[in-house]
């Protein structure tokens, strides 16, 4: 089996072969590093380990010391992801490579502690090959706002990767890794998955610890998983989910088995008994007509698979986009206040303390971050106090209430992930109407903290698009079971 063939194996299958001693972890990691080098033009990575030895050394350290892998503590000896090469966003803290969240203000910053998601990933035996490019602190629509420059879409030349976690999506789509992680604040993981033709899952808010995630909107940020397949993403989430004493918002709810059953169901109706909602607000005139037709044919497939499809309405959807942007901007203004050049990261030269902070933030933050920090500061402290922020929170509550109502009648919602394919290169460079609208169908589930997945649904005008499934809080098992059934029904040609 050649290195390239290894990368065609599902994450769990590869881990099984590593555990069985049929494949060496360094062979798999070498294949991934070779693929990363070959895909260099995509600019998917902000940092890549120099060799399999370096990657494996980093993967087997605990608290800065080499772990005794014979005891099964980390490393490729055992674990559900033993020896599986993975990538994590530049906004997730590991101990070996810089964690800069795509920002100049963190240039060269190496975290002295590990994100919980990273720790659990390594505990499961995975090997991080590199950090992937992101929009600065997760703010953007197509990984065009990174200090490292834009990431290109391997599945659609001329288009951005489709979301703020674009480097990870591009790395999976280009075959560098089967599994990657990113921050899905308003939809970055689902959008980039749709844009690059891979699977992206945002788990329930609180399902995966945010400790060590350098995001921008703590009430929205959530570590999400990319996979080439639903099974890959499910295995990734199984590894990292669960309560973390270092994150007070992480839920004390056990992570169920998420990997869908392997074989086809006997009667060919694996979704029998499920009720799937079609919220009409997600099929309006703003959606690319070809994409709309494609999502409706996915609904027809879901019906063929045994589900009951119901038309329904989520009337507050029209409020969601503005509410999302207001909440995210206000929280960003607050959460990014710590980047002052005093204690860590990059620092500009200036005469005194306040001037250092001002110069550091002025030169260290990119334009989109500055825009949102200014907007958020205004929202929190204008003449009306925080009236705008409160109105946004009220709207957020209504959006969540709509979902709760809908889930009285259905088990899942099925929608387009985005209104159209990934934005063309350059179109995500500023807050254009098209860019803002790119969040319209992913932001509502983020506001409500619901789990959602994007499954590849073929191409529109030559570019990948995705179908989004949304489930109840902590309903990841149902979500991924349906996603896997849909994935199988759509066939391999739906993937990029």
């Amino acid at each position: 089996m050649t290195g390239g063939d290894l990368l065609e194996l599902g994450a769990s299958a590869l881990a099984g072969m590593v555990r069985a001693g049929r494949v060496r972890a360094d062979t798999a990691v070498q294949a991934s590093l070779d693929a990363a080098r070959d895909a260099g033009a995509l600019n998917a990575f902000t940092a890549v380990h120099s060799s399999p030895r370096a990657a494996l050394a980093a993967a087997t350290r605990i608290g800065g010391r080499a772990a005794d892998t014979r005891k099964g503590a980390r490393g490729p000896g055992g674990g559900a992801l033993a020896g599986v090469p993975v990538a994590v966003g530049d906004d997730l803290a590991d101990l070996a490579l810089p964690t800069t969240a795509g920002s100049r203000i963190l240039a060269g910053y190496v975290s002295p502690y590990e994100a919980t998601a990273v720790a659990r990933l390594l505990d499961a035996g995975a090997v991080i090959v590199g950090k992937t490019n992101v929009d600065e602190f997760g703010m953007g629509w197509g990984t065009e706002h990174s200090a490292y420059g834009p990431t290109r879409n391997p599945a659609a030349p001329g288009r951005t990767p489709g979301g703020a976690a674009g480097g990870a999506a591009a790395a999976v789509a280009a075959g560098v890794v089967r599994v990657a992680f990113g921050n899905d604040a308003g939809g970055a993981v689902r959008q980039a998955a749709a844009g690059c033709g891979v699977v992206g899952v945002r788990p329930t808010y609180g399902r995966v610890s945010r400790s060590g995630l350098a995001g921008h909107a703590p009430s929205l940020d959530q570590v999400g998983a990319f996979g080439r397949t639903v099974d890959d993403a499910a295995a990734a989430l199984e590894a990292v989910g669960g309560r973390d004493p270092r994150d007070a918002t992480s839920a004390d709810i056990a992570v169920p088995a998420l990997r869908p059953p392997a074989g086809p169901v006997e009667d060919g109706r694996p979704l029998k008994g499920l009720r799937v909602g079609r919220p009409r607000e997600y099929f309006d005139d703003g959606v690319d007509p070809e994409l709309r037709a494609r999502v409706d044919s996915a609904l027809a497939l879901v019906r063929d698979l045994g589900a009951e499809v119901k038309e329904l309405s989520l009337p507050s959807t029209r409020l969601a986009l503005a509410a999302y942007h207001a909440v995210a901007a206000a929280e960003a203004a607050s959460s990014l206040a710590r980047y002052d050049g005093v204690r860590f990261g990059w620092r500009a030269a200036a005469d005194d303390g306040d001037a250092v902070t001002a110069a550091t933030r002025t030169a260290g933050f990119g334009a989109e971050v500055v825009r949102r920090v200014v907007l958020g500061t205004h929202l929190l402290s204008d003449a009306d106090g925080d009236a705008h922020y409160r109105r946004a929170q009220d709207a957020r509550a209504r959006v969540a209430h709509d979902f709760a109502d809908a889930f009285e009648d259905v088990d899942l919602l099925l929608t387009p992930t985005t209104p159209g394919p990934a934005l063309p290169v350059g179109a995500a460079a500023g807050p254009s109407p098209a860019a803002l609208r790119h969040d319209a169908f992913t932001a509502p589930a983020s506001l409500a903290g619901l789990p959602a997945a994007s499954v590849p649904a073929g191409r529109v005008a030559g570019s990948p698009v995705g179908v989004q499934l949304v489930a109840r809080h902590f309903g990841e098992a149902v979500l991924l079971r349906a996603a896997a059934a849909l994935e199988r029904a759509l066939g391999p040609e739906a993937h990029a």
Partner: protein
């Protein structure tokens, strides 16, 4: 110090007190609270440093002590309270905000009795709200050339913010309130509450009005400093300044120490990283068990329980902490008059003549040890002079009397 026309005015004061809670670890992380002389930043973790991705986790012990203190202040504890970020761009605040409470505080609607009215009824000050919060870091300038130093050892230490209504009308009332606050939070072992070491900090808001007026002008901040003597002096100074201004028909502009405009105030954001704090009625009731009952009138209670009166009663009732100390000793020893002689004699002398800052809590002799010493005198084991020598040693070392007497060969212990 009083301005010529001060007599036509009265001060109206509210107080914001920051009580550092006596926990082993900080409010939102596991770093030790170590006010000692440790190396700067010896107690600074990713949360203290506000490193990217570091999240606060609430210290349950801080909640426990905060609730007990709030109950001691007569407050209603909220079944649900919430945390908020109070933004301020200073190096003392590594995250760029102080993590505290704002709209839904831990507790509210308390009452602290600071004395008695002329009619003999209780003179009280209302506590408007009690919030959990954190201390900031310390910045020092001038220690290094061309650089300032930041020490985060105490950054994140848990603090209980106690706010009152503007209903203290003299510096004496303010001092009495702070003393009673101090006594109450110490009574539940929630805090050392010492102005001298910053475990209690007081900020007052003072305005003046013509006697007989009922309106309130915008107040000015008064920093309470490091002792009650300083607090009283600062209040009198500010009162004189504002009276003088008012007498000339002016009004006091707020000369805030940090030079920033008071208008607008700091921006708050509900803290997304901490879920609301939910406390059950049962749990709150359990905390109430740690709160000692307070007498409606200390004078009446002391007179009734110990049969004391006259100048002795005046002296003890006038200093609640001294009265607590007295009562603890007298109950164990059993002779109220001998106890009063000792508390108003050697005990006061050992505490020093600190005026406003007299602090019975600072005495190293525990009430039980003084009672044991008085027992030895009563039983003839120690003469009065030997007892006083033993007490002086106990006040220095905090040792029990039997050990001191034996080592120093005092009284019959020495004869043996």
């Amino acid at each position: 110090m009083s301005a010529p026309n001060a007599s036509r005015y009265e001060m109206v004061v509210s107080v914001d007190a920051a009580v550092r809670l006596r926990t082993a670890t900080k409010a939102y992380c596991n770093c030790a609270v170590a006010p000692g002389d440790d190396e700067p930043n010896a107690h600074a973790c990713p949360v203290c440093l506000a490193l990217p991705g570091a999240l606060p986790v609430l210290n349950e012990r801080a909640v426990e002590l905060g609730v007990r203190a709030a109950l001691a202040l007569g407050c209603a504890v909220a079944p649900v309270s919430e945390f908020a970020r109070r933004h301020r761009f200073t190096a003392e605040s590594p995250a760029g905000y102080e993590l505290t409470q704002h709209e839904r505080p831990l507790a509210a609607k308390g009452n602290v009795q600071i004395g008695e009215t002329r009619e003999g009824g209780p003179l009280t000050v209302r506590v408007t709200r009690v919030r959990l919060g954190e201390e900031g870091g310390r910045v020092t300038h001038g220690r290094f050339p061309r650089a300032s130093a930041l020490d985060l050892n105490l950054a994140g230490a848990p603090v209980l913010h106690v706010s009152t209504a503007p209903e203290m009308y003299s510096s004496a009332e303010v001092v009495a309130f702070v003393r009673e606050l101090r006594r109450l939070v110490r009574g539940v072992a929630a805090s050392d509450a010492r102005l001298q070491d910053g475990s209690l900090r007081v900020r007052a808001a003072l305005s003046v009005r013509r006697l007989g007026d009922t309106g309130l002008a915008a107040p000015c901040d008064v920093d309470g400093g490091r002792s009650l003597t300083e607090l009283r002096a600062a209040l009198e100074r500010e009162f004189a300044r504002q009276s003088e201004l008012a007498g000339r028909g002016g009004s006091a502009a707020n000369p805030r120490a940090d030079g920033r405009a008071a208008a607008g105030g700091p921006a708050y954001l509900p803290e997304p990283d901490l879920p609301p704090l939910v406390l059950t009625a049962e749990w709150i009731a359990e905390q109430r068990r740690y709160v000692p009952a307070q007498p409606a009138s200390r004078r009446v209670q002391l007179a009734r329980e110990f049969g004391i009166g006259g100048g002795v009663l005046d002296a003890l009732a006038g200093d609640p902490e001294l009265a607590d100390y007295y009562a603890s000793v007298a109950r164990v020893h059993g002779d109220p008059n001998a106890t009063a002689d000792w508390v108003l004699g050697p005990v006061l002398a050992a505490l020093g003549d600190d005026g406003d800052d007299l602090d019975a809590y600072a005495l190293r002799v525990r009430p039980a040890d003084l009672a044991a010493l008085l027992d030895m005198v009563r039983d003839g084991a120690l003469g009065e002079d030997d007892a006083r020598r033993a007490f002086a040693i106990m006040a220095r070392t905090g040792e029990p009397p039997a050990r001191v007497a034996k080592r120093e060969k005092l009284g019959t212990a020495g004869d043996a």
